[in-house]
Symmetry: C2
């Protein structure tokens, strides 16, 4: 469903958002530790997101990644779009180039509903809300038993 880069990106940005709520910027190393994502890989992904202004970043000591007012009501949908593109939401699920209402693939009718559900999942909560759930311990971002 999501590429690995996208899975990593989602976990990382939810974590960053949680820390940002507490006023902390976080570095790639810390993100890697807390989300179980390989450090150089997440660094690349976040570099990309920062370039696209999906998240913020600053260099130097006390620097790191963050999400602030400018990215306030950021949703996972925007994140997925930025990392994986819109293929999941707009492309034909069977790979037909010209699949459409007039020319539907066998799954065309059904997949529409599923896509709506996916979009709903990715937009009904802001990333901030997802981060709050993690803070409350209701959900987790990495394998447990980490200090």
């Amino acid at each position: 469903m999501f590429s690995r880069a996208c899975q990593y990106g989602i976990r990382a940005v939810i974590y960053i958002c949680g820390e940002s709520q507490k006023g902390n910027k976080v570095g790639a190393k810390q993100i890697s530790e807390k989300t179980g994502v390989p450090e150089p890989f997440i660094a690349k992904i976040l570099q990309d997101l920062a370039r696209k202004k999906i998240i913020g970043s600053t260099k130097g000591p006390t620097g790191g990644f963050f999400v602030d007012g400018r990215h306030q009501e950021l949703t996972l949908k925007q994140l997925v779009d930025a990392i994986d593109g819109e293929e999941l939401f707009t492309g034909c699920s069977l790979g037909l180039e010209n699949c459409s209402e007039a020319n539907p693939c066998p799954l065309h009718g059904e997949i529409k509903q599923i896509r709506l559900s996916i979009v709903r999942m990715l937009t009904q909560k802001s990333i901030k809300e997802f981060a709050e759930e993690v803070e409350k311990g209701e959900t987790v971002l990495s394998r447990m038993i980490q200090t």
Copy 2:
């Protein structure tokens, strides 16, 4: 959502099923032409499916791929399982190894419903029914304007 191999496989098997209803076996070349899938690639995928007894195949003149009584109520779910594995249906959508009810990832609750919808889409109709829709011209398996 589905790998390219899986998209190709679904299109090919629906086509094969339609021809099988008419009593025809079809070769990789014909399948390639009718579904717009690269011939050597679909040959590999189908070879695999035949080995797994998802479809049938015979060699030699008048040979080819087919689905018969033994694969009668074959569903797309079985096909997807065979080609892409069950990751889509059972793995954590954010890639957490130990995601569970007790230890849920942020999307855990929502993704369950979506998976059910996907499974429903892939099981509520048999492949034979999908093939009938194609025969009726209600749905298509490749870009249009093919003789």
